[in-house]
């Protein structure tokens, strides 16, 4: 059902499908599946991620402010998350998600998501926004 092999009880039972426009930090200015890879997949042999549900989710943000805060923290910590901020329509058929109090959305993609059919509503270089 899901694109990744997920640990037990993942996503949590309270995860739901959403229909919203969300932001994501990406590396390319066109939709490519490689920009929607969860952390666990980058380090598949690391048990600290392999066995943890949230590490298999892809991050999206409801608010630009939270996204930029995460981006800046990541830079401080030595991680560069990408060059662009893309906004896209997240439809219920893409996967299940949970949201936190920062407006951050963890999305677990369904197996048959066709990334070729996704289009960004808007994409901007992060430098332009700063």
């Amino acid at each position: 059902m899901y694109r990744e092999i997920l640990p037990e009880n993942c996503p949590p039972a309270y995860a739901g499908e959403i229909n919203d426009v969300l932001y994501r930090i990406v590396n390319n200015n066109i939709v490519l599946e490689e920009d929607f890879i969860p952390y666990s997949k980058k380090f598949p042999e690391n048990p600290r991620y392999k066995n943890n549900c949230k590490a298999h989710a892809v991050s999206f943000y409801k608010e630009m402010y939270t996204l930029l805060k995460t981006y800046r923290n990541a830079i401080k910590n030595g991680s560069n998350l990408g060059k662009y901020i893309a906004s896209l329509e997240i439809k219920p058929n893409l996967g299940k998600s949970v949201i936190n109090s920062n407006g951050h959305v963890s999305l677990w993609f369904y197996k048959d998501v066709n990334f070729d059919k996704l289009r960004y509503i808007e994409i901007r270089e992060i430098n332009e926004i700063r």
């Binding site: 949590p12 309270y14 739901g16 959403i18 930090i25 952390y39 980058k42 380090f43 042999e45 690391n46 048990p47 600290r48 991620y49 066995n51 943890n52 549900c53 949230k54 590490a55 989710a57 991050s59 943000y61 409801k62 608010e63 939270t66 995460t70 923290n73 990541a74 401080k76 910590n77 030595g78 991680s79 998350l81 949970v98 949201i99 936190n100 109090s101 920062n102 407006g103 951050h104 963890s106």
Partner: protein, 397 residues
């Protein structure tokens, strides 16, 4: 981050396993980990360098963890006032999670280099959190105001940044209507007896203050009726439902209750209510979520075919059509500020034909029977009103 090598310790001094990530927004900022003995650790990401992540960790008791997660202690403070004398810095290889360096800092040294921002807040995943009800505060407020307090708290992913109209119209307002129905009061009386306070925009929280009339020897009639709101929202069986129906004079509240249930399911929301009684100084609570709402919805579909209610309204006629196959009426209720239309009962039809009704000008007291059919899997909800009786308001007084 520059660390002092004099605090180096053997690798794998602590064997850790991630229990869960408490903050994973693109990067794994905060994790809860545990060692083989079951001791819990909070582990904050300091930096990532050369495919190695450096984390700082403290051991935490379950009580301290609760205090941190509920926001009573910030993460920065939690590290500065750690329960143990030591704070750990551990580097893990990103490729395989193996430890590459361990340092054990004494707490007094760590405080001077604490890398956790003072304003760092641990995000809370919605639906994982239970709203914390400050019992003592709620009782004190009820006692101070000498009113029954019905505290309403609705949470949903859709109420993250603001309050959506459905939260007010399809959950809060129906709960108010249920309350009015149990208290057997109309809108005009509600304006005297009910008041809203303590509005919280984090999801939707509102306190409803209810004026009551306690006596020296027994609890107020109002508290007994208001408790039914909680019993109803907690109902999980046919017996629970039947007990409330049998002990209530009217059934008008059921229509609103069905609305609340349907909305909780549709919006995947959680409604927490609590009643504080200023006399007995007690609180009773209810929690309705999608799971419990689904259970009761099946029972409602089986049990409640029709909900019948008879209500009195003061208002004026807008339309009367006695020539139709099914004679109909329309009036505007002054006290409820709603327009109601429906069918005219046979008993009243002849009187209506004979009377000289001054449409739109004279006020009448209307007795209306409402038959409400809740939505089922095959049928949409349906409400039909019947005019049973009407009297000129002057005649009545």
């Amino acid at each position: 981050m520059k660390l002092d090598n004099k605090y180096k310790a053997p690798i794998d001094f602590l064997q850790l396993e991630v229990v869960e990530y408490l903050d994973f927004q693109d990067i794994p900022s905060l994790a809860l980990e545990k060692d083989p003995a079951g001791t819990l650790y909070l582990s904050y990401l300091v930096e990532i360098n050369n495919y190695t992540e450096l984390r700082t960790l403290i051991s935490v008791s379950e009580i301290r963890l609760k205090e941190i997660l509920s926001g009573h202690i910030s993460l920065n403070d939690a590290f500065n006032i750690a329960e143990s004398e030591f704070v750990y810095f551990i580097s893990f290889k990103l490729t395989n999670g193996v430890q590459s360096e361990v340092l054990i800092y004494p707490l007094f040294e760590f405080i001077t280099i604490n890398p956790i921002p003072e304003d760092y807040l641990i995000p809370i995943t919605f639906n994982e959190i239970e709203p914390i009800l400050e019992n003592q505060e709620l009782i004190s407020y009820a006692v101070k105001k000498n009113k029954i307090i019905l505290d309403f708290y609705l949470k949903s992913d859709q109420l993250n940044n603001n309050i959506k109209p459905w939260a007010v119209n399809k959950v809060f307002q129906p709960v108010v209507e249920m309350t009015k129905s149990f208290l057997e009061i109309d809108q005009r009386q509600a304006d005297h007896l009910l008041a809203y306070s303590n509005l919280r925009q984090s999801s939707l929280g509102i306190s409803i203050e209810i004026t009551h009339h306690p006596t020296i020897f027994e609890e107020s009639k109002e508290i007994g009726q208001i408790r039914k709101v909680i019993y109803l929202l907690n109902a999980q069986s046919k017996e629970d439902l039947q007990k409330i129906i049998n002990s209530s004079k009217n059934e008008a509240y059921l229509k609103h209750y069905v609305n609340v249930i349907n909305t909780i399911i549709e919006k995947n929301a959680t409604l927490c209510t609590a009643i504080a009684d200023p006399i007995s100084r007690t609180i009773i609570e209810s929690k309705l979520n999608r799971k419990s709402a689904n259970i009761i919805k099946i029972i409602i579909d089986e049990t409640l075919q029709n909900i019948t209610d008879i209500e009195e309204y003061i208002g004026y006629f807008l339309e009367i059509d006695v020539d139709k196959k099914e004679p109909s009426f329309k009036f505007h209720s002054i006290d409820e500020d709603v327009t109601i239309k429906g069918k005219i009962a046979e008993d009243v039809l002849e009187k209506l034909k004979a009377d000289m009704i001054n449409i739109g000008k004279e006020n009448y007291s209307f007795t209306i029977k409402t038959i409400y059919k809740p939505e089922t899997t095959v049928n949409p909800e349906k409400t039909v009103h019947y005019l049973l009786e009407y009297k000129r308001v002057d005649e009545k007084h």
